[in-house]
C-alpha cells in the first residue's frame, strides 16, 4: 500500500497567536532540512496543519526522520483515494488490517468537507463501520478509547484515509525561540542542556574553553564530537573554541586557591556573554544542576551569576543525575562525555574549592587585577567552527572509508 502524503499536527504552535506564521515557517524549514535528500517531496504548510506530499518516495524512511523534528505534536500517513464508496471501503479495510493487533478496538472519525458526497458523516460512520466489522470479526468498536482511529475525510478532489497516529518529538521548531550560547564543557550535563534547549526552539551556539597544553587536543576533539551529535538534531551547530590558558594561569597567580574556581566561572561567563553579544544571542545556557558540584550550589551560583545580567537558562537545574544520564544516553552523547580526558574545569581544580563562596570576597580578590583586556583578547582569538552532521572526519581521512 502506497501512502500519498503525511499529515503533520502542530500541537503547541497552534496556540502561539501572532507568532504562528513564524513558527510554521520554521517548522517547514526543519521538515525540509531533514528530508533534503528527497527533492521530489513537497511540504505544504497550512494554518493548522502541514502536509508532506510524498510523490512516490518511501514513507517508512520519511516517517523515521519526522519523528525527530521538534514542533510536531503527531503525524499520520494518509492515503488519497478516489471518491468511490466501494474503493474507499476497501482501502480503509486494508489500512486497518495493516496495523491491527489482537485485541485492538476502533472508531471512525468522518469529516465531510464536500457536501455533495452521497453519505453524510453519520452515513460514512455506518457504512465503513459495517464493512470493517463484517470483514474483521475479531475487532470491536470503542468510541471512547479506541486503539485505532480511522479518519475519513471527504474533500472535493478526493478522500483521505488514515488510521495511524505517530507521536512527534513535540517541543518548538528549531530556531523559533532565538539564539542562545551553550557552555559546552565535555561532561555529561552540558550536551543534555543543549539538547533540551534545542527542543524548545533555541538555536544553540556552543562555547568551549580550551587550555592547551593543560588540556589535550583530544579533549577538544571530544567537544567537537559532542557538537557533532547536537548538530544532527538541527542540521548544524556553531562551536566557539575560546583560548583560555592565559586567563587560567593569571587566575592561579592572582586569586587565593579556594576562590580560583569561583573566579574561573565568573570569567567564563563574562567571555560567553561577550560572545553572545558579538553573535546576537539572547541567553546563556549551562548544564548546571543544583548542588551537583562546588560551583553549582546556590551560594556559588549567586556569586558567579552576578557578572552578567543576560538570562542564564539552566534546563537541568532541578534534575537528578540519573535522569540526566538517561537523556545523555538517548541522544547518544553519554559515551563521548565519559571519555577520560581532562578539561579546563578538572585540570585546575583546587583541592578544596569553596562550596559557599561569598560574593564580596570574590569581588575583592578580583579587584586587584584588570581582567577586561584578557577577556577581549580571548574573545578576539576565539576560533569559530561550524560543525555539520557526520563532519567529524578530516578531509585527508575521508577517502579511506
Amino acid at each position: 500500500m502506497k501512502y500519498d502524503r503525511i499529515l503533520i499536527r502542530y500541537g503547541e504552535i497552534s496556540t502561539k497567536g501572532r507568532n504562528r506564521k513564524n513558527f510554521i515557517d520554521k517548522l517547514r524549514k526543519s521538515v525540509k532540512r531533514v528530508l533534503h535528500d528527497f527533492p521530489e517531496i513537497k511540504v505544504e504548510g497550512q494554518r493548522d496543519r502541514m502536509f508532506v506530499l510524498l510523490n512516490d518516495q518511501p514513507h517508512e524512511e520519511i516517517i523515521e526522520r519526522l519523528k525527530g523534528v521538534f514542533g510536531i505534536q503527531s503525524f499520520s500517513p494518509v492515503l488519497k483515494v478516489e471518491k468511490d464508496l466501494d474503493t474507499m471501503k476497501e482501502k480503509a479495510l486494508q489500512l486497518i488490517q495493516k496495523v491491527y493487533q489482537e485485541g485492538d478496538t476502533f472508531k471512525i472519525t468522518a469529516k465531510r468537507a464536500d457536501k455533495s458526497f452521497a453519505l453524510d458523516t453519520f452515513g460514512i460512520n455506518q457504512a465503513f463501520g459495517a464493512h470493517i466489522l463484517t470483514n474483521m470479526p475479531s475487532i470491536s468498536v470503542d468510541v471512547k478509547k479506541p486503539s485505532i482511529n480511522l479518519v475519513i475525510e471527504v474533500r472535493k478532489e478526493a478522500s483521505y484515509i488514515s488510521c495511524e497516529n505517530i507521536k512527534g518529538a513535540v517541543g518548538l521548531p528549531a530556531g523559533s525561540s532565538g539564539k542562545g550560547m551553550l557552555m559546552l564543557s565535555g561532561g555529561i550535563d552540558s550536551p543534555v542542556a543543549g539538547y533540551l534547549s534545542m527542543k524548545r526552539g533555541i538555536e544553540v551556539e556552543a562555547v568551549h574553553f580550551y587550555s592547551p597544553p593543560f588540556t589535550s587536543e583530544r579533549s577538544k576533539q571530544k567537544v567537537i564530537d559532542l557538537a557533532e551529535k547536537l548538530s544532527r538534531i538541527n542540521g548544524g551547530v556553531a562551536l566557539h573554541i575560546v583560548p583560555f590558558t592565559e586567563i587560567q594561569q593569571l587566575i592561579q597567580k592572582q586569586i587565593p586557591d579556594n576562590y580560583t574556581m569561583t573566579t574561573t566561572r565568573r570569567l567564563m561567563l563574562r567571555i560567553t556573554d561577550a560572545l553572545r553579544e558579538k553573535y546576537q544571542g539572547l541567553s546563556i545556557i549551562t548544564g548546571e544542576s543544583l548542588g551537583q558540584v562546588a560551583s553549582q550550589t546556590m551560594e556559588s551560583m549567586y556569586a558567579i551569576n552576578e557578572v552578567v545580567s543576560t538570562p542564564i537558562l539552566r534546563p537541568l537545574i532541578m534534575m537528578d543525575k540519573a535522569d540526566i544520564i538517561d537523556i545523555a544516553q538517548t541522544i547518544d552523547t553519554h559515551d563521548i562525555s565519559i571519555r577520560p580526558f581532562e578539561d579546563c574545569c578538572t585540570v585546575f581544580v583546587p583541592s578544596s574549592p569553596k562550596t559557599k563562596p561569598k560574593l564580596e570576597k570574590v569581588q575583592h580578590f578580583e579587584s586587584y587585577t584588570d581582567f577586561e583586556p584578557y577577556i577581549q583578547k580571548a574573545v578576539e582569538n576565539t576560533e569559530k567552527l561550524v560543525i555539520m552532521p557526520n563532519s567529524n572526519i578530516e578531509k585527508e581521512m575521508e577517502d579511506l572509508f
Binding site: R218, N392, E394, M397, D399, L400, F401
Partner: protein, 380 residues
Amino acid sequence: MIYLDNSATTQPYKEVIDAFVKVSSTFFGNPSSLHGVGEKAEKLLQQARRQIAQLLKVKEKELLFTSGGTEGNNMAIKGIAKQYQHRGNHLITTTIEHPSVIETMKQLEKDGFEVTYLPVDGDGRISLDDLQVAIKEETILVSVMHVNNEIGTIQPIKAIGTLLKEYPKVFFHVDAVQSVGKVPLELYEFGIDACTMSSHKFHGLKGSGILYLRQGVSLTPLLAGGNQESELRSGTENTGGIVAMAKALRMTNDYFNSSSKLSHLMNEIRIALSEIEDVIIHTPIKETAPHILNFSVKGFKSEVFVHALEENDIYISTTSACSSKHAQASSTLLAMGIKEEIALSAVRVSLSYHTTADEVEKFIHEVKNTIFQLRKVMKA
C-alpha cells in the same frame, strides 16, 4: 583465472588495499597514545566503528573488533559460557557448525559444560521443535550459524530469535561469517545477542573481524592485557585492517543493495548442472544463500575434480577450505543424510559480486568437458 572459491576467502577490493596501505603508512600511531599521532589513529578507529555501526544498524559500542571469525566465535561462546555459568552449564548448537564453533564446544565439554548438537534435515536445516525440546533450565546459550559455509543453507535465525525471546536467560549467538553482504541480516530484529563476522569474507583483509555484542550482554574476555575494546578484547587495535573492513563492508553492502546478480548467475549454474547426468546438487533450492552451490559428480573423488578444473585455471573447493586438506567426507553433508560415497565427491562453487556471466559460462563449459574427459579416463 576464474576464482570461484569465495566462501574460502575473497579477493580484497583494490580500494580496500589502498586504504590499508595509507592507514598503515600515514596513520600508523597507536590509538591509545596520548599524542596527536595516536589521536589520528583513534579518530580513524572511531570513524570505522561509526560507519560499521550504521551499516549494521546497531550502536557503536556494540561492536568489538577481533582478528576474524575464529576469534569471534571462540570469544562469544567461551566468553558467554564463562560469564554466565552460574546460571547454568548447558549449551546448544548444531551438528553443521564451522570447526571454530564445534571445537570450542568440545573444549567447553571438557570444562564441564554440557552441549546439545541439534541434527539437521535433508536440506541441512535444524528444526525449531528440536531446539525447543533441547532447551532446559540450565541452558544459557544457543549458537547457530546463519549461512552454512559448505552448502549455503540459511538457518531460520529470525524464528529462532523469536522463540528464544520466551527464554530470557538464554543468549543467542550467530556465526554470520558467510552471510554478511549476501543475505539480509537484521541484528536487532532477529533477536541476536552476539554475532561473528570476518572481514576477508567480504573483500576485506585477513586478520580483522567483528563481534557484535548486544548492549547489556557481558562476556569474560579471552585475552588479558591493555583492556582495549571496552575492556573485552585486549591488544593494540589493527587500525589499518579495521578501516579497510569498514570500507569493504560499505562497498559490499552497496553491491548487496543494488544487485541480484549473484542469484541470477547461481541460477544459471544450477540449471546447467542439473542437466548433467550423475551430478547431484546438495544445496537446497529454497532458503539458501545466493553465492554457494555444493554438488557431487558421481564416481569422481572431489579432489580429482577440483584439480582437473584447476588445470583450466578454474578454482573451486572440495568442502570448506578449513577441512579440505583432510580427505574426509564433509560432516555437514553426512549430517544431512547424504551417503558417504556421494559426500566424498562433493565440491563447492562460491561466487562473489565480481563474478561475471562469462566466467560462469566458461565454468559450466569446463565442468561438462571435465566430466566427459574424466569419464574416458576412468572407463579406460
